[in-house]
């Protein structure tokens, strides 16, 4: 695997870094303290093409590749986990399923507005009774006499929900029988717009981390949408959801990677300044070995994340790669940020320094878009261990 970045990717990295340092980092504490969605930052990112990085230009995208998108999430997450996940959910969970499964009309209708950031995207799969068990869906979609789809049900923990204009929503469209004669829910995917009748955004969740990310409930009460909003074929929704989550996991793995790298950067800086027993704490072997371990683990995670991104770009199978990348990056982020707080000592526990925020932000990466346990299920299934 060649991990040399192209000239364009090197230049993108530089631009992302400059942007993160000048536009995102100064707001990160405020975003967290006020649980504020960074709307202005999103507009600025959109103007620079960061809301549609790897989609082709004919659909309004910037025409770059998946690794270039991964680096954007990584660099934003180094300084603000909230900003990282806004791009990730919008790109991987809304733009990608429309790009990969949409009709030409759907792509032309939604992608240019999503890629330009005029519209923000979200994804609705999780329900109160259907988290890891995505088959446990209760939301239904039935065709009315006019050929429209009528959706009923609710979704929870939906990232970007409070600000999104377009939602990829999953619902039961019937009951089928599998090869062994067992009854199974037929799930289909739909594109729902915020202004559709019967659609509303409900309770805003108060979270431990990524506080500026808007996480809400979606409510559909006789939500009526035209027939052409069916995304992909009827009954293929579960596959679309799983494939979308494969891509989403690369985004979250990038967020986790960025959080770990950001915490290490902050900790290196701090340990070179903080003096105890007449020495900079960076001079103690414990600090040196801890940071060496953390950096090595984070670099290992980075290879997995970049490799998954490149496989997706090259249209190679990447389900297991994405699962491994997310598992390792998320657990690394949680471990690294916790150890960074420890190296900061008492100051690390205060909100004066960013590492406690990074530790809170990191925890979610082990949970959303498939828990670490789900990633282990995916990996072991791919290994044929059953």
């Amino acid at each position: 695997m060649d991990l040399h970045l192209s000239k364009e990717q090197e230049m993108l990295r530089k631009m992302y870094r400059d942007f993160a340092e000048n536009e995102v980092k100064p707001l990160a504490e405020w975003v967290d303290e006020n649980e504020a969605f960074p709307e202005e930052t999103v507009k600025k990112m959109a103007k620079l093409g960061m809301m549609g990085i790897y989609f082709p230009k004919e659909y309004g995208g910037a025409g770059a590749d998946v690794l270039s998108y991964v680096m954007a999430v990584e660099e934003m997450s180094k300084v603000c986990g909230t900003t990282g996940v806004i791009i990730s959910a919008h790109t991987s969970l809304c733009c990608a399923p429309i790009y990969e499964n949409g009709t030409e009309e759907q792509k032309m209708k939604y992608l240019p507005k999503l890629c330009s950031g005029e519209w923000i995207g979200a994804f609705g799969l999780t329900e109160p009774g259907a988290g890891t068990d995505a088959q446990g869906q209760q939301t239904t979609a039935v065709k009315d006499e006019n050929g429209n789809w009528v959706l009923n049900g609710s979704k929870i923990f939906i990232t970007n929900a409070g600000y999104a204009n377009v939602f990829v929503i999953f619902a039961i469209t019937g009951i089928t029988t599998d090869k062994r004669g067992r009854k199974k829910k037929e799930i289909s995917a739909f594109i729902v717009e915020r202004t559709d009748p019967g659609f509303s955004v409900g309770k805003h969740e108060k979270k431990m981390g990524i506080k500026g990310s808007s996480t809400c409930e979606l409510i559909m009460e006789d939500c009526t949408i035209p027939a052409d909003r069916l995304l992909g074929k009827q009954g293929k929704g579960f596959g679309i959801a799983m494939k979308t989550l494969d891509g989403g996991r690369i985004g979250i793995a990038s967020q986790a990677l960025g959080l770990a790298e950001g915490a290490i950067e902050e900790t290196i800086k701090y340990t070179k300044e903080r003096v105890q027993f007449g020495k900079r704490i960076s001079q103690f072997q414990n600090t040196q070995f801890q940071l060496a371990d953390m950096h090595a683990k984070t670099e290992a995670a980075k290879w997995l994340v970049y490799s998954a991104a490149m496989k997706k770009q090259n249209h190679e199978p990447y389900t297991m790669d994405a699962a491994m990348a997310k598992l390792v990056a998320a657990e690394t982020a949680s471990d690294v940020t916790r150890r960074c707080v420890q190296l900061f000592g008492g100051y690390g526990y205060t909100r004066e320094y960013p590492v406690e925020r990074m530790m809170r932000d990191a925890k979610i990466t082990e949970i959303y878009e498939g828990t670490s346990e789900v990633q282990r299920m995916v990996i072991s299934a791919n290994l044929g261990v059953n």
């Binding site: 230049m11 942007f19 960061m50 230009k57 910037a62 770059a64």
Partner: protein, 266 residues
């Protein structure tokens, strides 16, 4: 209409300043950036492009790696780039550089409604001479220290930033403006711009391209021909920590006056 912008790649002086044994700056050992004032000039040109759709050409004299900087400027939205690069041009002072750049700009072509932009000065040499000398050589009006620009056809109204205030001047195109970094905040490169920047035209002008232009006297360019030579570069000694005094009362002021008196400052 088009805008031609002169830019320079300079050592990043916010980091360590490396000096060679012979007293000249060790550029290879230092990170490079686009000169701040020049970035303001690029942004000014791009804003005119946003408003009028005009073409923006960036031109830089420097070693081959300066292409990287020019690509970044193309990624910001500039349309074409010219790299003026030759061993014979190396080590040129401002007199030599302005001859070469003037010839390069002439080769690019200056139309009646064009504007040539320069940064006020580069952070490495700090001379602020190249822009004005180019204007003289090209025989066009120049306005330096530009902090605001309004273009109305062939009339350009600019505000000059002076030490004690502003001066507003109206000038006709073609003209040359030297910009200060306070003029604007330069935009970021965009993702789409970066993806396109290696497809945009970048032409290299070497010694052969420019040597016969009458604006250039080949005996006065390069390190040997330049009338001025750098004798020594050094990092100034670090100043001691300053002293802070707080309070707006008479006692504090008296104390301050007495300290300044002791140091023979007043």
């Amino acid at each position: 209409m088009k805008a031609i912008v002169c830019v320079k790649q300079v050592p990043d002086t916010s980091g360590v300043v490396a000096v060679k044994e012979d007293g000249t700056m060790d550029r290879a050992a230092m990170a490079t950036i686009t000169n701040h004032d020049d970035l303001a000039a690029v942004e000014a040109a791009l804003r005119i492009k946003d408003a009028t759709g005009c073409k923006v050409v960036v031109v830089s004299m420097g070693p081959p790696p300066a292409e990287g900087m020019l690509r970044e400027l193309l990624a910001m939205g500039c349309d074409e780039a010219v790299l003026v690069s030759a061993r014979e041009f190396g080590g040129s002072d401002t007199y030599a550089t302005s001859q070469i750049l003037a010839a390069a700009i002439k080769k690019i072509g200056v139309d009646d409604d064009d504007i040539v932009f320069c940064g006020r000065q580069a952070i490495d040499g700090d001379t602020a001479q190249v822009g004005p000398q180019i204007a003289e050589k090209l025989g066009m009006p120049q306005v330096s220290y530009v902090a605001e620009i309004n273009v109305d056809g062939k009339a350009v109204t600019v505000k000059r930033l002076l030490e004690d205030g502003y001066m507003t001047i109206k000038v006709q195109t073609p003209c040359l403006l030297t910009c200060v970094k306070e003029l604007n905040d330069a935009r970021y490169m965009s993702v789409g711009g970066i993806m396109e920047c290696y497809q945009k035209p970048l032409e290299v002008y070497n010694y052969e391209t420019l040597k016969d232009d009458p604006l250039i006297d080949v005996t006065t360019i390069g390190l040997k021909g330049s009338p001025t030579n750098v004798y020594k570069s050094f990092s100034p000694p670090v100043k001691g920590a300053g002293m802070m005094m707080e309070g707006a009362d008479k006692a504090t002021v008296d104390k301050l006056v007495s300290i300044l008196n002791d140091k023979h400052i007043i």
